[in-house]
Amino acid sequence: VKFGVIRFPGSCDEVDALLACRRFADAELLWHGDRDLRGADAIVVPGGFSYGDYLRAGAIARFSPVMEAVQEFALSGGPVLGICNGFQVLCEAGLLPGALLPNAGLRFVCRQVDLVVENAETAFTGACSPGDRLSVPVKHTTGRYYAPEDLLDELEADGQVILRYAEGQNPNGSARDIAGVANRQKNVAGLMPHPEHAVDPLTGSADGGRLFESLVSHVGALAPA
């Protein structure tokens, strides 16, 4: 199993994402100007400030050559995980529903939060059980998840809300405490918290590793024996 981690100008969490992936499988960096995903089985769109967050966070990155390839990969069912800025990019690209708005408190937030697994039957959460709590850090200014009410109802009914902030820990005013969502097919997901920064007990928590572990077992199960 091989992960491809994208590096945009302005990415800053791609190396942590790469190292997190390598704890569970092979991984290599993919350059934003390349169209070639180099045979990756799963793609991680990492955090940072791609293209300086110009216009709106994630708005420019979606037009990069690599994102065309990611779009095709996603439409053919390949798993794609967007973290923080990567989540914003996937929303802007229309691969995920909704949008991310400036935090309700207008401040940059950087803290450890508990996430509750809402749907454990996805490629991203298969190694978890529903209701599991994962301790993972958030660090962002534009992380308030928004979608119109009727779309939110649809997402909930369809199991597309995969992770929620634990009660009382919503750091940014996200609608219905939503921390992570998936597309309808459940092969594309995004979350504002950073699982790649929570893969070693030495830095406080290894819970984030469960998402990478889930992806590896998902892809492994698909591969021909």
Binding site: R56, A59, P102, L106, A147
Partner: protein, 75 residues
Amino acid sequence: LKARVLIRPKAGILDPQGQTVERALPALGFDGVHDVRVGRMVELEAPDESRIGEMCEKLLANPLIEDYEILVVER
């Protein structure tokens, strides 16, 4: 032609920047101001105005969260 595109958060979407400005005004003696919304403005020159709406839909604004308004300022 020269145009200005005004982009603002859609009605009903919480705009904490607007709220902060609204709360700051009375401190300076500007009373009675409400519904402050903070957006952004894009100024551009284009061959004509026919495709500016499309530019807004695809890039300049995110139609899920923002409204836009196109003003032609110079022909």
